[in-house]
């Protein structure tokens, strides 16, 4: 063994001991965060400190982007403005019939004695941060506890479902995208009402549809919408489109890949669907047991 030099400058524990200490501390923290929600207070404090910094860091990018728009001519803007006005008027007309449909739907449901369908209230938020981490598909938005955001609320863009709020901080909240590997969304095939569950792949432009029978009636190009049976995602929101189906005879299930409809890359603004809190299960458990048979009460 090589002789170690005499310890002239006492510096506390050795390098390796310090590394071991911090590494174990980090692993314990990771385990605590992954399995038990004991460190969410610490997260909240750090998030509150980070928030103003995130807003400040946004500034240079904002100015670069507005500089590139500076070159737009007046005519272009006027043209765009006219188009937007037409679009807005069209949407207003459609909204009229939508309101009528909501009324009609409520009325019909009342006749059928079905539970009222919930139409969420829409509020907007800006994306502040998209983690560059290729593993966790999470974004940070600029609405939090102060604006009445709650964990579990659904976030969409104008095309489809983006994800749901998973952490709420005082002035911001964290949204787990449906492409996150830990996210699952109950869906329905729009064409035939076939129910399934879509899982994120961790890849930004891919969703998986596992546990579908090899002979299930599903085709490339089928549109998947939320089925609304989980009480988190309201029914009927577009989730994705089936891109590739591999019905290999060796596997019990078909391998189905989908492309998510919504994407964080397209726009900076997202919409949060807030509404009446989800119906609490204990209240209608007896009803479900009466209708659905012996298994309904267990779920």
């Amino acid at each position: 063994m090589e002789a170690t030099p005499p310890d002239f400058f006492k510096r506390g524990p050795s390098l390796f001991a310090r590394f071991l200490f911090f590494a174990i501390l980090a692993v314990v923290l990771i385990a605590a965060d992954a399995r038990y929600a004991v460190v969410s207070d610490l997260r909240g404090i750090i998030a509150a400190v980070l928030y103003p910094l995130e807003r400040a860091a946004e500034f240079p990018v904002n100015s670069i982007q507005s500089l590139t728009k500076f070159g737009l001519s007046y005519a272009d803007l006027q043209h765009e403005n006219v188009n937007l006005r037409v679009e807005a008027r069209k949407l207003k007309v459609e909204l009229l019939s939508y309101r009528a449909l909501v009324q009609e739907n409520a009325h019909l449901r009342q006749l059928l004695r079905a539970r009222e369908r919930y139409f969420p209230h829409v509020s907007t938020a800006d994306i502040i941060f998209v983690g560059k981490d290729p593993f966790s598909r999470k974004i940070l938005i600029d609405r939090g506890l102060g604006e009445g955001i709650h964990s579990g609320e659904v976030v969409v863009d104008d095309i489809g479902v983006l994800g749901q709020v998973t952490q709420v901080y005082p002035t911001s909240s964290e949204v787990s995208l449906i492409t996150d590997k830990d996210e699952a969304v109950p869906v329905q095939v729009l064409r035939n009402g076939l129910r399934a569950i879509v899982f994120g792949s961790g890849n930004e432009d891919e969703l998986n549809l596992p546990y579908m029978d090899a002979n299930a009636d599903i085709k490339v190009g089928d549109v998947l919408v939320t089925s609304g049976i989980d009480g988190v995602y309201p029914a009927g929101l577009p989730v994705g489109v089936v891109e590739k189906i591999d019905r290999s005879p060796e596997l019990p299930f078909a391998t189905i890949h989908c492309i998510p409809s919504a994407g964080t890359e397209r726009n900076r603004q997202v919409f949060i669907l807030t509404g009446p809190p989800p119906v609490n299960p204990p209240a209608d458990a007896p009803k479900a047991a009466g209708v659905g048979g012996p298994h309904a009460g267990n779920s």
């Binding site: 390098l15 590394f19 590494a23 990771i30 997260r43 998209v130 593993f135």
Partner: protein, 172 residues
């Protein structure tokens, strides 16, 4: 006798950089990490905070240690929405490797130092990857490690900036 030296009076190879330089640079590193680069369509962005931590670990080891790296890591965990402790582990790992090789790296010129920095950043990303894989993430391609190369490419510029700062200080 040597042991009772006050740490602040101990003559370094150069005069120690004042603490506020270190604090400000770490703050800038953190800010740069929080800049939404994704909106500018950049393929890879280096981890500026890790680079700053590594820089001070090598050039001012008495100022920056693993505890600072750990806390900085916690900040990045929250910013990225990662598990609390994931970046902390990664940063501490990088600092550990850097401190192991510190004496050796100081004898090289800036470009050769940068080659070492690739290793440090690589270790950091490896630690991140390890935690992800234990949590069942998918396998990523080699392109994931490009960030290490880009980060190391910034190293010579950091050395230059530091030299400029030190020269300016000695003039006063």
């Amino acid at each position: 006798m040597l042991g009772i030296h006050n740490s602040d009076e101990r003559p370094e190879m150069a005069r120690p950089i004042p603490l506020y330089h270190v604090v400000i640079s770490l703050f800038v590193g953190l800010l740069l990490n929080l800049v939404p680069w994704w909106r500018l369509d950049l393929a890879v962005t280096p981890d500026f905070l890790a680079l700053t931590l590594l820089f001070w670990t090598i050039h001012q080891p008495r100022r920056i240690g693993m505890s600072v790296a750990f806390i900085a890591g916690l900040f990045m965990d929250v910013a990225h929405g990662a598990y609390l402790g994931q970046y902390a582990l990664a940063y501490v790992t990088a600092i550990f490797v850097a401190q192991l090789l510190r004496q050796r790296i100081l004898r090289f010129d800036s470009v050769r130092q940068a080659l070492h920095v690739i290793v440090f950043l690589f270790c950091m990303q490896l630690a991140l990857l390890m935690v992800h894989q234990t949590n069942g993430a998918r396998i990523v391609g080699l392109s994931y490690f490009y960030a290490s190369l880009v980060g190391a490419a910034l190293w010579p510029f950091m050395i230059y900036g530091y030299g400029w700062l030190a020269r300016r200080r000695t003039e006063y």
